[in-house]
Amino acid sequence: MSTAVVFPGMGPNRFADAAKFMMVNPSARRLLAAASDAVGYSVMNRFRDSEDDYSEAAQVAFFVNCVALAEWARERYGLEPAFCAGPSFGQKALTAFTGALPFEDAARLTALLARRTAEYFATEHRDLVTLSFVRAPWEALAPLLEELTERGEWHDFSCYLDDGFYMLTLRAQAVEEFERRIRSIGGLPLYTMRPPMHSSRFSGLREQVADEVLGEFTFSDPEIPVVADGDGSVVRTGEGIRNMLLDGYVTAVRWPSVVATLKELGVTRLCVAGPDRLFGRVDCTVSNFEVLAADPVRAMRPRT
Protein backbone atom coordinates (compact mmCIF):
# COMPACT_ATOMS: atom_id res chain seq x y z
CA MET A 1 0.00 0.00 0.00
CA SER A 2 1.45 3.37 -1.04
CA THR A 3 0.70 6.20 1.36
CA ALA A 4 0.86 9.97 1.00
CA VAL A 5 0.81 12.38 3.90
CA VAL A 6 -1.44 15.39 3.31
CA PHE A 7 -1.28 18.50 5.45
CA PRO A 8 -4.65 20.25 5.35
CA GLY A 9 -5.43 23.86 4.73
CA MET A 10 -6.17 25.82 7.86
CA GLY A 11 -9.66 26.14 9.22
CA PRO A 12 -10.89 27.84 12.39
CA ASN A 13 -8.96 26.24 15.21
CA ARG A 14 -10.35 26.68 18.70
CA PHE A 15 -7.66 27.36 21.27
CA ALA A 16 -9.05 24.78 23.69
CA ASP A 17 -8.90 21.99 21.10
CA ALA A 18 -5.45 22.84 19.81
CA ALA A 19 -3.96 23.55 23.23
CA LYS A 20 -5.11 20.29 24.73
CA PHE A 21 -3.31 18.32 22.06
CA MET A 22 -0.19 20.46 22.35
CA MET A 23 -0.05 19.80 26.09
CA VAL A 24 -0.83 16.09 25.95
CA ASN A 25 1.17 14.92 22.94
CA PRO A 26 4.94 14.60 23.58
CA SER A 27 5.91 15.43 19.98
CA ALA A 28 3.64 18.46 19.98
CA ARG A 29 5.06 19.66 23.29
CA ARG A 30 8.61 19.37 21.99
CA LEU A 31 7.78 21.03 18.68
CA LEU A 32 5.82 23.78 20.39
CA ALA A 33 8.84 24.62 22.54
CA ALA A 34 11.08 24.60 19.46
CA ALA A 35 8.65 26.80 17.55
CA SER A 36 8.40 29.26 20.44
CA ASP A 37 12.19 29.53 20.55
CA ALA A 38 12.27 30.05 16.80
CA VAL A 39 9.68 32.83 16.69
CA GLY A 40 10.81 34.48 19.92
CA TYR A 41 7.60 34.31 21.96
CA SER A 42 5.38 31.76 23.68
CA VAL A 43 3.17 30.49 20.88
CA MET A 44 0.77 28.97 23.41
CA ASN A 45 0.32 32.19 25.39
CA ARG A 46 -0.05 34.40 22.35
CA PHE A 47 -2.46 31.96 20.71
CA ARG A 48 -4.52 31.92 23.91
CA ASP A 49 -4.68 35.71 23.99
CA SER A 50 -5.45 36.22 20.31
CA GLU A 51 -9.02 36.79 19.21
CA ASP A 52 -8.45 36.19 15.53
CA ASP A 53 -8.89 32.57 14.38
CA TYR A 54 -6.07 33.13 11.90
CA SER A 55 -3.67 35.21 14.01
CA GLU A 56 0.06 34.70 13.58
CA ALA A 57 0.22 32.58 16.74
CA ALA A 58 -2.83 30.55 15.67
CA GLN A 59 -1.08 29.82 12.38
CA VAL A 60 2.13 28.74 14.08
CA ALA A 61 0.14 26.54 16.47
CA PHE A 62 -1.72 24.95 13.56
CA PHE A 63 1.62 24.32 11.84
CA VAL A 64 3.03 22.73 15.01
CA ASN A 65 0.03 20.47 15.44
CA CYS A 66 0.08 19.31 11.84
CA VAL A 67 3.76 18.34 11.97
CA ALA A 68 3.29 16.68 15.36
CA LEU A 69 0.30 14.70 14.08
CA ALA A 70 2.29 13.49 11.08
CA GLU A 71 5.06 12.34 13.42
CA TRP A 72 2.48 10.65 15.62
CA ALA A 73 0.94 8.87 12.63
CA ARG A 74 4.32 7.78 11.35
CA GLU A 75 5.13 6.19 14.69
CA ARG A 76 1.67 4.88 15.53
CA TYR A 77 0.93 3.32 12.15
CA GLY A 78 4.45 2.74 10.89
CA LEU A 79 3.83 5.00 7.92
CA GLU A 80 6.52 5.40 5.32
CA PRO A 81 4.99 8.05 3.08
CA ALA A 82 5.91 7.84 -0.57
CA PHE A 83 4.61 11.33 -1.32
CA CYS A 84 3.50 14.42 0.49
CA ALA A 85 1.03 17.19 -0.34
CA GLY A 86 -0.10 20.32 1.46
CA PRO A 87 -2.93 22.32 -0.05
CA SER A 88 -2.93 26.01 0.85
CA PHE A 89 -1.66 26.50 4.41
CA GLY A 90 -0.56 22.86 4.43
CA GLN A 91 2.50 23.93 2.45
CA LYS A 92 4.15 25.17 5.62
CA ALA A 93 3.94 21.88 7.52
CA LEU A 94 4.96 20.05 4.39
CA THR A 95 8.12 22.14 4.18
CA ALA A 96 9.16 21.01 7.65
CA PHE A 97 8.01 17.42 7.40
CA THR A 98 9.89 16.75 4.16
CA GLY A 99 13.05 18.40 5.47
CA ALA A 100 12.99 21.14 2.83
CA LEU A 101 13.53 23.46 5.80
CA PRO A 102 14.60 22.55 9.34
CA PHE A 103 11.56 22.61 11.64
CA GLU A 104 12.68 25.77 13.42
CA ASP A 105 13.13 27.61 10.12
CA ALA A 106 9.74 26.46 8.90
CA ALA A 107 8.16 27.69 12.15
CA ARG A 108 9.81 31.09 11.75
CA LEU A 109 8.81 31.21 8.09
CA THR A 110 5.21 30.47 9.05
CA ALA A 111 5.23 33.41 11.47
CA LEU A 112 6.91 35.76 9.00
CA LEU A 113 4.50 34.85 6.20
CA ALA A 114 1.52 35.35 8.49
CA ARG A 115 2.85 38.76 9.51
CA ARG A 116 3.67 39.85 5.97
CA THR A 117 0.27 38.71 4.68
CA ALA A 118 -1.55 40.61 7.42
CA GLU A 119 0.48 43.75 6.70
CA TYR A 120 -0.15 43.49 2.97
CA PHE A 121 -3.91 43.11 3.25
CA ALA A 122 -4.12 45.86 5.85
CA THR A 123 -3.62 48.30 3.00
CA GLU A 124 -4.14 46.35 -0.24
CA HIS A 125 -7.29 44.82 -1.71
CA ARG A 126 -9.34 45.72 1.30
CA ASP A 127 -12.47 45.35 -0.80
CA LEU A 128 -11.81 41.73 -1.75
CA VAL A 129 -12.93 38.58 0.05
CA THR A 130 -12.85 34.89 -0.78
CA LEU A 131 -16.19 33.10 -0.74
CA SER A 132 -16.53 29.34 -0.49
CA PHE A 133 -19.60 27.53 -1.76
CA VAL A 134 -20.65 24.00 -2.55
CA ARG A 135 -23.35 22.21 -4.60
CA ALA A 136 -22.67 24.42 -7.59
CA PRO A 137 -22.18 22.18 -10.63
CA TRP A 138 -20.17 23.83 -13.36
CA GLU A 139 -22.98 23.99 -15.92
CA ALA A 140 -25.15 25.90 -13.44
CA LEU A 141 -22.31 28.01 -12.08
CA ALA A 142 -20.92 29.20 -15.39
CA PRO A 143 -23.91 31.48 -16.19
CA LEU A 144 -23.58 33.09 -12.75
CA LEU A 145 -19.95 33.87 -13.45
CA GLU A 146 -21.00 35.40 -16.78
CA GLU A 147 -23.46 37.58 -14.87
CA LEU A 148 -20.62 38.82 -12.70
CA THR A 149 -18.56 39.60 -15.77
CA GLU A 150 -21.46 41.42 -17.43
CA ARG A 151 -21.85 43.59 -14.33
CA GLY A 152 -18.14 44.38 -14.44
CA GLU A 153 -17.50 42.46 -11.22
CA TRP A 154 -13.97 41.13 -11.26
CA HIS A 155 -13.69 37.60 -9.87
CA ASP A 156 -11.09 34.87 -9.72
CA PHE A 157 -11.10 31.25 -8.58
CA SER A 158 -9.00 30.72 -5.46
CA CYS A 159 -9.68 27.03 -4.84
CA TYR A 160 -11.04 24.14 -6.80
CA LEU A 161 -11.93 21.67 -4.07
CA ASP A 162 -14.23 19.12 -5.69
CA ASP A 163 -16.99 18.93 -8.27
CA GLY A 164 -19.25 21.87 -7.49
CA PHE A 165 -17.13 23.00 -4.54
CA TYR A 166 -15.13 26.18 -5.07
CA MET A 167 -13.71 29.31 -3.53
CA LEU A 168 -14.05 32.52 -5.48
CA THR A 169 -12.42 35.86 -4.77
CA LEU A 170 -14.56 38.91 -5.51
CA ARG A 171 -15.55 42.28 -4.09
CA ALA A 172 -17.19 42.14 -0.68
CA GLN A 173 -20.01 44.31 -2.03
CA ALA A 174 -20.81 41.67 -4.65
CA VAL A 175 -21.05 38.76 -2.23
CA GLU A 176 -24.65 39.12 -1.09
CA GLU A 177 -26.07 39.09 -4.59
CA PHE A 178 -23.74 36.28 -5.69
CA GLU A 179 -24.77 34.20 -2.67
CA ARG A 180 -28.40 34.75 -3.62
CA ARG A 181 -27.68 33.50 -7.12
CA ILE A 182 -25.75 30.49 -5.75
CA ARG A 183 -28.75 29.57 -3.62
CA SER A 184 -31.02 29.90 -6.64
CA ILE A 185 -29.21 27.00 -8.31
CA GLY A 186 -29.34 24.90 -5.14
CA GLY A 187 -25.84 25.82 -4.04
CA LEU A 188 -24.82 26.49 -0.48
CA PRO A 189 -22.58 29.46 0.35
CA LEU A 190 -20.28 28.55 3.23
CA TYR A 191 -17.75 31.12 4.41
CA THR A 192 -16.55 34.55 3.45
CA MET A 193 -12.85 34.90 4.19
CA ARG A 194 -11.06 38.16 4.79
CA PRO A 195 -8.27 38.55 3.91
CA PRO A 196 -8.74 36.79 0.59
CA MET A 197 -6.28 34.24 -0.77
CA HIS A 198 -4.77 32.58 -3.84
CA SER A 199 -5.52 35.07 -6.58
CA SER A 200 -3.68 36.57 -9.55
CA ARG A 201 -4.38 39.98 -8.02
CA PHE A 202 -1.90 39.33 -5.23
CA SER A 203 1.30 39.43 -7.27
CA GLY A 204 2.47 42.31 -5.07
CA LEU A 205 2.41 40.04 -2.04
CA ARG A 206 4.23 37.33 -3.97
CA GLU A 207 6.97 39.82 -4.83
CA GLN A 208 7.27 41.04 -1.26
CA VAL A 209 7.56 37.51 0.07
CA ALA A 210 10.15 36.61 -2.58
CA ASP A 211 12.22 39.75 -2.03
CA GLU A 212 11.89 40.31 1.71
CA VAL A 213 11.06 37.01 3.39
CA LEU A 214 12.31 33.96 1.52
CA GLY A 215 15.76 35.37 0.87
CA GLU A 216 17.02 34.36 4.30
CA PHE A 217 15.88 30.74 3.95
CA THR A 218 17.76 28.01 2.11
CA PHE A 219 15.52 25.24 0.85
CA SER A 220 16.87 21.70 0.58
CA ASP A 221 15.52 19.05 -1.72
CA PRO A 222 12.59 17.38 0.05
CA GLU A 223 13.27 13.89 1.41
CA ILE A 224 9.79 12.91 0.22
CA PRO A 225 8.56 14.02 -3.23
CA VAL A 226 5.85 16.65 -3.00
CA VAL A 227 2.73 17.06 -5.14
CA ALA A 228 2.17 20.79 -5.71
CA ASP A 229 -1.24 22.09 -4.77
CA GLY A 230 -1.49 24.48 -7.71
CA ASP A 231 -1.16 22.07 -10.61
CA GLY A 232 -0.50 18.58 -9.27
CA SER A 233 3.09 18.55 -10.51
CA VAL A 234 5.69 16.55 -8.60
CA VAL A 235 8.28 18.69 -6.84
CA ARG A 236 11.63 17.12 -6.00
CA THR A 237 13.92 20.11 -5.43
CA GLY A 238 14.32 22.83 -2.85
CA GLU A 239 13.95 25.42 -5.58
CA GLY A 240 10.67 23.76 -6.54
CA ILE A 241 9.42 24.00 -2.95
CA ARG A 242 10.33 27.68 -2.84
CA ASN A 243 8.50 28.35 -6.09
CA MET A 244 5.48 26.40 -4.90
CA LEU A 245 5.28 28.57 -1.77
CA LEU A 246 5.46 31.72 -3.88
CA ASP A 247 3.03 30.58 -6.54
CA GLY A 248 0.49 29.82 -3.85
CA TYR A 249 -0.10 33.53 -3.44
CA VAL A 250 -1.19 34.05 -7.03
CA THR A 251 -2.58 30.75 -8.27
CA ALA A 252 -5.61 28.76 -7.23
CA VAL A 253 -5.39 25.58 -5.21
CA ARG A 254 -6.49 22.69 -7.40
CA TRP A 255 -7.11 19.78 -5.06
CA PRO A 256 -8.59 17.51 -7.78
CA SER A 257 -5.29 17.89 -9.68
CA VAL A 258 -3.39 16.77 -6.57
CA VAL A 259 -5.75 13.82 -6.21
CA ALA A 260 -5.26 12.87 -9.88
CA THR A 261 -1.47 12.94 -9.59
CA LEU A 262 -1.42 10.92 -6.37
CA LYS A 263 -3.65 8.35 -7.98
CA GLU A 264 -1.42 8.16 -11.06
CA LEU A 265 1.55 7.66 -8.78
CA GLY A 266 -0.12 4.61 -7.28
CA VAL A 267 -1.03 6.11 -3.93
CA THR A 268 -3.90 4.24 -2.30
CA ARG A 269 -3.97 5.73 1.20
CA LEU A 270 -3.90 9.31 2.41
CA CYS A 271 -2.89 10.20 5.93
CA VAL A 272 -4.39 13.62 6.56
CA ALA A 273 -2.20 15.04 9.31
CA GLY A 274 -3.87 17.89 11.14
CA PRO A 275 -7.24 19.22 12.20
CA ASP A 276 -9.20 18.84 8.97
CA ARG A 277 -12.83 19.27 8.07
CA LEU A 278 -12.36 19.43 4.35
CA PHE A 279 -9.61 17.80 2.30
CA GLY A 280 -9.95 14.35 3.83
CA ARG A 281 -13.72 14.39 3.43
CA VAL A 282 -14.59 15.68 -0.02
CA ASP A 283 -15.84 13.12 -2.54
CA CYS A 284 -12.81 13.22 -4.80
CA THR A 285 -10.66 12.22 -1.83
CA VAL A 286 -12.80 9.53 -0.24
CA SER A 287 -13.76 7.97 -3.56
CA ASN A 288 -10.12 7.51 -4.56
CA PHE A 289 -8.25 6.73 -1.36
CA GLU A 290 -8.46 5.10 2.00
CA VAL A 291 -8.28 8.08 4.34
CA LEU A 292 -6.49 7.89 7.65
CA ALA A 293 -7.38 10.96 9.68
CA ALA A 294 -4.45 11.80 11.95
CA ASP A 295 -6.31 14.41 13.95
CA PRO A 296 -5.98 15.52 17.58
CA VAL A 297 -9.03 13.55 18.70
CA ARG A 298 -7.64 10.29 17.35
CA ALA A 299 -4.13 11.02 18.62
CA MET A 300 -5.39 11.65 22.15
CA ARG A 301 -7.50 8.49 22.24
CA PRO A 302 -5.99 5.89 24.59
CA ARG A 303 -4.15 3.17 22.70
CA THR A 304 -6.10 -0.11 22.80
Binding site: V134, R135, R180, R183, S184, I185, G186, G187, L188, P189, L190, Y191, R277, L278, R281, V282
Partner: protein, 86 residues
Amino acid sequence: MWDQQFEDILRRALPYMEPGETILADLELRDYGLDSLGIVDLLMDLESTYGVQFRDESLSRETFATPAGLWATLSSLTGAGPLPAA
Protein backbone atom coordinates in the same frame (compact mmCIF):
# COMPACT_ATOMS: atom_id res chain seq x y z
CA MET B 1 -43.20 16.88 15.87
CA TRP B 2 -41.04 15.57 13.06
CA ASP B 3 -41.27 12.08 11.65
CA GLN B 4 -38.99 9.13 12.31
CA GLN B 5 -37.20 9.42 8.96
CA PHE B 6 -36.16 12.95 9.79
CA GLU B 7 -35.04 11.87 13.24
CA ASP B 8 -32.93 9.04 11.79
CA ILE B 9 -31.34 11.19 9.08
CA LEU B 10 -30.57 13.99 11.50
CA ARG B 11 -29.08 11.63 14.06
CA ARG B 12 -26.70 10.25 11.43
CA ALA B 13 -25.52 13.79 10.73
CA LEU B 14 -24.62 14.52 14.35
CA PRO B 15 -21.34 12.81 15.26
CA TYR B 16 -21.36 14.10 18.83
CA MET B 17 -24.88 12.90 19.60
CA GLU B 18 -24.92 9.90 21.94
CA PRO B 19 -27.09 6.92 20.94
CA GLY B 20 -30.42 7.23 22.71
CA GLU B 21 -29.89 10.91 23.48
CA THR B 22 -33.02 12.94 22.80
CA ILE B 23 -32.87 15.37 19.92
CA LEU B 24 -34.45 18.52 21.29
CA ALA B 25 -36.18 20.96 18.97
CA ASP B 26 -33.90 23.86 19.83
CA LEU B 27 -30.66 21.96 20.04
CA GLU B 28 -27.73 23.80 18.43
CA LEU B 29 -26.83 21.43 15.63
CA ARG B 30 -23.35 22.89 15.24
CA ASP B 31 -22.54 21.95 18.84
CA TYR B 32 -23.27 18.34 17.96
CA GLY B 33 -20.79 18.32 15.11
CA LEU B 34 -22.86 19.45 12.13
CA ASP B 35 -20.25 21.30 10.07
CA SER B 36 -20.28 22.53 6.47
CA LEU B 37 -19.70 19.20 4.77
CA GLY B 38 -22.06 17.59 7.24
CA ILE B 39 -24.74 20.02 6.09
CA VAL B 40 -24.11 19.04 2.48
CA ASP B 41 -24.53 15.34 3.26
CA LEU B 42 -27.61 16.08 5.34
CA LEU B 43 -29.12 18.10 2.51
CA MET B 44 -28.60 15.29 0.05
CA ASP B 45 -30.17 12.78 2.43
CA LEU B 46 -33.20 14.97 3.03
CA GLU B 47 -33.65 15.77 -0.66
CA SER B 48 -33.48 12.16 -1.77
CA THR B 49 -35.68 10.89 1.06
CA TYR B 50 -38.39 13.53 0.82
CA GLY B 51 -38.17 14.21 -2.92
CA VAL B 52 -37.62 17.94 -2.43
CA GLN B 53 -35.01 20.41 -3.60
CA PHE B 54 -33.62 23.02 -1.25
CA ARG B 55 -33.32 26.33 -3.08
CA ASP B 56 -33.05 30.04 -2.38
CA GLU B 57 -33.86 31.08 1.20
CA SER B 58 -34.07 27.46 2.36
CA LEU B 59 -30.31 27.25 1.86
CA SER B 60 -29.38 29.83 4.47
CA ARG B 61 -27.17 28.86 7.39
CA GLU B 62 -30.09 29.58 9.73
CA THR B 63 -32.00 26.68 8.21
CA PHE B 64 -29.45 24.32 9.72
CA ALA B 65 -29.15 25.92 13.13
CA THR B 66 -31.70 23.79 15.01
CA PRO B 67 -33.84 20.69 14.37
CA ALA B 68 -37.00 22.80 14.65
CA GLY B 69 -35.79 25.26 12.03
CA LEU B 70 -34.70 22.54 9.66
CA TRP B 71 -37.96 20.62 10.04
CA ALA B 72 -39.98 23.79 9.49
CA THR B 73 -38.09 24.48 6.28
CA LEU B 74 -38.41 20.88 5.14
CA SER B 75 -42.13 20.96 5.93
CA SER B 76 -42.58 24.08 3.84
CA LEU B 77 -40.94 22.26 0.93
CA THR B 78 -42.97 19.07 1.32
CA GLY B 79 -46.21 20.85 2.15
CA ALA B 80 -46.44 19.09 5.53
CA GLY B 81 -47.50 20.97 8.62
CA PRO B 82 -45.03 23.01 10.66
CA LEU B 83 -43.68 21.94 14.01
CA PRO B 84 -46.34 22.67 16.66
CA ALA B 85 -45.33 24.88 19.53
CA ALA B 86 -43.90 22.91 22.44
